[in-house]
């Protein structure tokens, strides 16, 4: 019976080998979905010319980005929007006047709606749950009513800087666009 046991053992081994020829790549193929898709790429964007920004009046600019979807790349899709606020007056450093620009993500930290500008009150408000923010991005209380501000934190400040274009010599505002988790009191970068 030794021979019979050996043949059973060989059959089992060969069957396992054959199954794994397809099985192992199969599992690996299914696990592709766990792979981080595409590069998030460079999210630093020149969003507006300085001369186009009025002092004290926020301007919304879209952040365009190529969006990768498996085998397709969608060029120039709106990744998100940013509110630019040029504060008045320009800061003085010696004789030089430096424009003060701040950039806020237009995504509400509460539940992610698009924050809009209320021109009458000159402040930001989220249309979904009436979160209110000043031009400095901090939460403000509504003048009327007892409703609490639903936003857990101030608007999300984004890194921005002024850059001079080498060819046209124009001054541009450059923003590093990031997304943050909603509903948290702390600003946490989205994974």
């Amino acid at each position: 019976m030794r021979r019979r046991t050996l043949l059973k053992w060989i059959s089992g081994c060969l069957a396992t080998l054959c199954a794994s020829v397809v099985g192992i790549p199969g599992v690996s193929f299914v696990l592709q979905a766990l792979r981080k898709s595409g590069s998030d790429g460079d999210r630093v964007r020149r969003v507006a010319r300085l001369k186009d920004l009025p002092v004290g009046k926020p301007v919304a600019v879209p952040i365009l980005s190529a969006r990768e979807d498996a085998w397709t790349v969608h060029p120039d899709e709106v990744l998100g929007r940013v509110w630019l606020v040029r504060r008045k007056p320009d800061a003085k450093v010696g004789a030089e006047s430096i424009p003060q620009i701040v950039a806020f993500s237009a995504t509400c930290p509460h539940l992610g709606c698009a924050i809009q500008h209320d021109a009458k009150e000159n402040r930001f408000q989220c249309p979904c749950h009436r979160a209110l923010f000043g031009l400095d991005g901090e939460r403000v209380a509504a003048k009327t009513g007892v409703q609490k501000n639903p936003s857990p934190r101030a608007m999300d400040l984004l890194d921005c800087r002024l850059v001079t274009d080498e060819t046209t010599q124009e001054v541009w505002v450059e923003v590093t666009f990031q997304k943050f988790e909603q509903g948290l009191t702390k600003k946490v970068l989205k994974a």
Partner: protein, 641 residues
């Protein structure tokens, strides 16, 4: 383990269910030949598993099919699985053939196994249809052309043909619905049909056991083996009867598994090394000569002998008659003595296999001797390699893979040139490779804008050759006489100096073209280029007729500023009679291809086509780096996992 199996058996009786196979005794002992059935079953399961896995990433539509298949090819696992799926389909068809021949030789179709034989035979054409319904799913050139031809063949069948054709193609011509319909066939209907037949087939095998002929028993005794009796079989095994009666498991199983391992090993090796083919994305504007798969070559050859209204004889009647004959063969063979039956079967086999090999061989021989077909097939392969290179470069636009070659100057340039330019201009190198006009009446544009090409135009002999102005009215013009004048009555030493000067001019003019392929050379030759420019507007006085930068006037000869640049060529081809080029009656016969800038649709060339043509003339197209990108990406993915 044993206790778990006992537990399981107590609840499922699995041992008894498997007993007809496991405990079956093979009186003639285990044989290698028996393993075809087991091997077919294994490969069938491999197809089901790999097919299901590929469905994870495949998307059937004309915009996404090719792109999603290329996406699958980007990972090592996807590349391998698709390769296994592809080559296993071929292996299944070969093994099906071997299996049928083996059953025929063993006379295993005799009563009571007629249904086993018939279901097996019905599965064979279904497997073929299943295999070819998978080919076009990649959205590749050859697969889609194949299904179009197959649609026409079905459509030429009298009465129901056109109806079935429309249902198969999903409309009048190949499109989204063709792919979804084929997908339905490939992953829905055909698997259900084949699995249904297969279960019946296997049920019959268990019911009837091995055939009497295979068992070597008496021919007439069919009942003895018809119902396997477990206790009887076990008793047969345990009783010490000579010769030793071996059970199916493991004595036959180990042979089966060895064959399966070898076959699967060969398939995996081919799949790993070559992978499944991926043609250029289907595009009716690309040149392509469709050919069927090898297993349909015999019918393809047969079609040659039945043309016109008689085509359905080759496509329907003959294959149908052959299948019918085989289905009825057990009845025809029933009454024969073993000897007569053997002669019958040998005859059927010889005629059948002989005809198949003969027709298939003739079809391939015809193609191998057909230079036109070979050229077309090489062109398809080149287009396919090009499409893959372009797709490896970046992800695809939302419009899909068809844009890869449509927006590629290297692909479209020769097609546009052949259609619009090649009746006058050649585009061939010194050895005559490329497009040669049958009656060239204008300059050969191969290498246009390079220093070498311009040097020829500045040579008193070559300018009047047919490669330049020889066949145009400019051969009598000022340019030719001016070049000749430069060399008139001068010593050989001075002529050599003149040739060197003209070489510098050619270099300077080539720098104006700013050809991407010459960028490095132009950058390294700043000094000669500056000297060339000085000669051009200075001592050689080209600017007497030509405008060059701020020297000279327009109107008497083409502008040399940015000569051969993209924008210059767009203007020249668009309208050669513009004052920058050959205004008035100085133009020879060159048509204006894009004269109407207000209404581009009225022009001979659309803006897109004009751009592609100009980019191609200037050699301005993407070339992949010499190291293979897919290999790199694959390795990166492996490392990522």
């Amino acid at each position: 383990m044993q206790s778990f199996l006992n537990w399981l058996d107590a609840r499922t009786d699995y041992r008894q269910l498997l007993a007809p196979i496991r405990m079956r005794v093979l009186p003639a002992g285990p044989r290698w030949a028996y393993s075809t059935a087991s091997c077919l079953l294994w490969l069938f399961i491999v197809q089901l598993v790999t097919g299901l896995l590929l469905m994870l990433s495949y998307s059937p539509s004309t915009t996404t099919a090719w792109a999603s298949v290329h996406f699958i090819e980007q990972t090592a696992a996807g590349h391998f699985l698709r390769g296994v799926h592809h080559f296993t389909s071929h292996a299944l068809i070969i093994l099906c053939g071997v299996h049928v021949v083996r059953v025929l030789l063993a006379r295993a179709f005799q009563a009571p196994r007629e249904l086993l034989w018939i279901t097996g035979l019905l599965m064979f054409p279904l497997m073929l249809v299943w295999a070819i319904s998978g080919n076009p799913l990649s959205g590749g050139l050859s697969g889609v052309s194949q299904i179009e031809v197959e649609g026409h063949i079905i459509g030429s069948t009298p009465w129901v043909g056109p109806l079935i054709q429309r249902i198969l193609i999903g409309g009048e011509e190949a499109g989204h619905l063709t792919l979804t319909h084929l997908y339905f066939l490939h992953v829905g209907l055909l698997p259900l049909l084949v699995i249904g037949l297969l279960l019946f087939h296997i049920g019959q095998v268990i019911r009837h056991g091995l055939s009497v002929a295979e068992l070597g028993g008496p021919q007439d005794d069919v009942s003895r083996w018809s119902a396997p009796n477990l206790t009887h079989l076990i008793a047969a095994h345990t009783s010490p009867l000579p010769p030793p009666r071996l059970k199916y498991y493991p004595y036959q199983t180990v042979r089966n598994m060895t064959v399966v391992t070898v076959v699967l090993g060969i398939i995996s090796a081919i799949a790993g090394m070559h992978g499944a083919p991926l043609d250029a994305p289907a595009d009716p504007t690309l040149p392509h000569t469709p050919r069927p798969e090898w297993y349909f070559r015999s019918l393809f050859e047969l079609r040659r002998y039945f043309v016109g209204d008689w085509e359905f004889v080759a496509t329907i009647i003959i294959p149908g008659a052959v299948l019918g004959f085989f289905v009825l063969f057990p009845m025809l063979n029933r009454k024969c003595s073993p000897r007569v039956s053997l002669i019958h079967r040998a005859l059927v086999l010889l005629v059948g296999v002989g005809a198949w090999i003969g027709l298939t061989g003739m079809s391939y021989l015809r193609d191998w001797n057909d230079a036109e077909y070979l050229a077309s097939s090489a062109e398809t392969e080149a287009l396919s390699a090009r499409a893959r290179d372009l797709a490896d470069r970046s992800l695809l636009p939302p419009e899909g893979a068809i844009t890869l070659l449509r927006d590629d100057p290297k692909t479209q340039g020769p097609l546009l040139f052949a259609r619009h330019c090649a009746s006058c201009h050649s585009h061939a190198d010194a050895s005559g490779q490329g497009m040669v006009a049958s009656e060239p009446s204008a300059p050969n544009l191969h290498g246009f804008g390079t220093a070498a090409w311009i040097s020829g135009k500045l040579d008193p002999q070559r300018i009047v050759s047919e490669h330049y102005f020889g066949k145009t009215k400019f051969t009598e013009g000022d340019m030719v006489s001016k070049i000749k004048e430069l060399f008139d009555g001068i010593e050989e030493a001075e002529a050599a100096k003149m040739r060197d000067d003209l070489k510098l001019v050619a270099q300077a003019l080539s720098a104006e073209a700013a050809l991407p392929r010459a960028a490095a050379a132009d950058h390294d030759a700043q000094a000669p280029i500056v000297t060339g420019r000085e000669l051009l507007s200075g001592r050689l006085a080209c600017t007497d007729c030509h405008k060059f930068r701020d020297q000279g006037e327009l109107g008497s000869a083409p502008d040399l500023t940015a000569y051969g640049s993209r924008e210059w060529l767009l203007g020249m081809i668009g309208n050669p009679q513009h004052e920058r080029f050959y205004s008035g009656d100085r133009n020879d016969r060159m048509p204006a291809f894009a004269e109407d800038t207000e209404h581009p649709e009225r022009n001979l060339l659309s803006p897109r086509e004009l751009n592609l043509l100009v980019d191609w003339l200037r050699g301005d197209w993407y070339e992949p780096p010499t190291t293979s990108i897919p290999a790199q990406r694959r390795n990166a993915t492996l490392a990522g996992n």
